[in-house]
């Protein structure tokens, strides 16, 4: 609750700070505000289950932990922007304010107790992302990405709203508890209105987390948006989306698990196949990361489909491991692509990484750890993320799904290792890239956390 209020107000403060002559205060101010929100987040840590706004918004340990992951990812990404000082056309105050506002939307998605709140959260998060996607105004690709994202996102939101209306029509309630009691009362006699509503809401949410077959916007949008905002999209939108999906399915619709699990399992397998196989054929590292984000949506969907007691922990750990690794990957991509820029545009292909390790051992190491984590190699957080996801599927005896997932992880190793090979084995002449000290600290911190949680995954549960 506190982070929502704090960030709404502080976002406006950031907007006003933009009127000052000097833009250099914006970055430290935004980082400070994020720290303030993080402290506010833990104010309610020991209060158990709380309800706000006439029972429309819930706070408990799970939502607070998701909030913390989102806030921490946002902190690292904001720190990596370096205040947009290298870009004269940038509007740092607006970018930072939009990022803070979109976090408010993410918190609402994480803790919603009422479908109206979910819709509001999705919209706040999405509208801010549409603007940030098109923030590189002079770049045609960025414009294209923003338009595509906006149009398709608007359709998906419309479908979701239609689904919410049908759910209301069936159960007479917007609140998760109301729908849950309707579902448990009418378990014997199915209400087709409810089924249709649930499917439409699922379509809307799966679009936001880019699961196949609603993934078609992802590569173009991730590729066209400025890399820093792609990192924001790939981590925060996905974490919040899966938190919302988990809340919806575990809370209201656990009574009709038999109805939705076959649908979701087909989408899961499809997402895994599409994400991993198309990623192999990419020449651009950034585009590969977009497909990799689709494939990770697939792994997270496995945990959702199995919906056991472990699912909660699996989704939390997986989204955290995925967020850290993705931030590292983009953190390396941004300086390398800028150093190797072609015709004034950052070069985001695999070739840009050729021979990176010779003069930039740190960047190459960070890249390696993040790729290993994304691929799920032991001793990284990504391995335990996959382990928890698979073990929840084992509990549900979804063996065939695990077989597909393991095969697809093997495919994943191919394209994740391609960039490591480029950095260490291939010939290339990359001069030493100068990185700001703060940027370096963020990269090292995210890498160390990835390794730490890879060595001792129990630390995370102990912290909860």
């Amino acid at each position: 609750m506190y982070p929502i209020v704090l960030l709404s107000v502080l976002g406006i403060v950031v907007l006003y700070l933009g009127f000052l002559k000097s833009k250099s205060i914006l970055l430290p101010a935004t980082l400070l505000f994020l720290v303030v929100a993080m402290i506010g987040n833990f104010f309610e840590w020991n209060d158990g289950e709380l309800l706000y706004f006439k029972g429309m918004f819930a706070v408990n340990k799970l939502t607070l932990t998701f909030n913390a992951i989102v806030l921490f990812s946002a902190f690292m990404i904001v720190a990596m922007t370096q205040g947009f000082q290298d870009n004269e056309e940038a509007q740092p105050a607006e970018y930072f304010a939009l990022m803070l506002f979109s976090l408010v939307g993410a918190f609402m998605m994480i803790g919603f107790e009422n479908l109206i709140m979910l819709f509001l959260g999705v919209e706040i998060l999405s509208v801010a992302m549409y603007v940030l996607t098109g923030s590189d105004k002079r770049n045609l690709r960025s414009n294209e990405a923003a338009l595509k994202y906006f149009l398709m996102g608007a359709f998906a939101t419309g479908i979701m709203l239609f689904g919410i209306a049908l759910l209301y029509g069936a159960s007479g309630s917007f609140s998760l508890n109301g729908i849950e009691s309707f579902v448990t009362l009418n378990q014997r006699s199915p209400s087709y209105l409810l089924y249709a509503g649930l499917l439409l809401v699922l379509i809307g949410m799966l679009f936001k987390v880019s699961a196949a077959p609603f993934h078609f916007w992802t590569p173009d949008v991730y590729d066209g948006a400025p890399s820093i905002f792609t990192a924001f999209m790939a981590t925060i939108v996905k974490t919040a989306g899966f938190a919302a999906l988990f809340r919806l399915l575990s809370h209201s619709f656990s009574g009709i698990y038999d109805f939705w699990w076959p649908t979701l399992s087909i989408l899961t397998v499809l997402t895994l196949l599409v994400g991993n196989i198309i990623a192999v054929y990419q020449d651009s590292f950034k585009r590969m990361l977009a497909y990799s984000s689709i494939s990770h949506a697939g792994y997270l969907l496995i945990a959702l489909t199995s919906m056991t007691k472990q699912t909660e922990n699996a989704i939390l750990f997986y989204s955290m491991a995925y967020s850290f690794a993705t931030i590292c990957a983009f953190g390396v991509l941004i300086p390398v692509a800028r150093e190797k820029s072609l015709e004034g545009r950052p070069n985001e292909s695999y070739e840009a990484f050729n021979g990176l390790a010779k003069n930039n051992p740190l960047l190459a190491f960070v890249l390696t750890v993040s790729m290993l984590s994304l691929a799920g190699i032991p001793l990284t957080a990504g391995f335990w993320g996959k382990f928890f996801v698979f073990s929840s599927a084992v509990e549900r005896e979804l063996v065939w799904m695990i077989i597909v997932a393991v095969l697809m992880s093997a495919v994943g190793i191919y394209y994740y290792f391609r960039v490591i090979m480029a950095a260490y084995m291939k010939e290339g002449d990359t001069a030493t890239i100068r990185i700001a000290p703060f940027y370096k600290i963020v990269l090292i911190a995210a890498t160390l956390l990835t390794i730490l949680f890879g060595l001792a995954p129990g630390l995370f549960e102990a912290a909860m």
Binding site: I12, L15, Y16, F19, A170, G172
Partner: protein, 124 residues
């Protein structure tokens, strides 16, 4: 809430749909049938308040118009929220008043931002 509606309960809605569609069809047929129709060059020209037609309508328009139009819609719609509040002023009491003040404060914060950004400065 009564959730057990029978299909027959929706009959009035269907009747209204049919009536609405029938009204359009009937008026269109009748006006085309009974009205005289003469065609000439002067008659087929677009009518612009008596002024002769100038150029194409699809010319580039300054972005300022769109900005002002969007801002107008934004603030216009926000003011609509005042009406339900005014109607229920006594019922909502002090809490409603505080919420409305908060809402207006946020709105004015946005307005101040627009002014400082110079969106409404037409000459620049």
């Amino acid at each position: 809430m009564n959730t057990n509606y029978l299909p027959s309960d929706f009959l009035p809605i269907i009747v209204q749909f049919v009536l609405a569609a029938a009204f359009i069809v009937v008026t269109m047929i009748v006006t085309h049938r009974i009205g005289p129709s003469r065609k000439s060059k002067a008659k087929d020209d677009p009518f612009e308040c008596g002024i002769e037609v100038v150029g194409n309508a699809r010319t580039p328009i300054s972005v300022k118009y769109f900005l002002v139009a969007i801002l107008f819609v934004l603030f216009d719609v926000e003011v609509i929220f005042m009406y339900p509040w005014a109607v229920n002023f006594k019922k909502l009491g002090m809490l409603g008043f505080i919420e409305m003040v908060l809402f207006m404060a946020l709105l004015l914060a946005g307005f101040y931002y627009i002014l400082r950004k110079g969106v409404l400065k037409w000459e620049e």
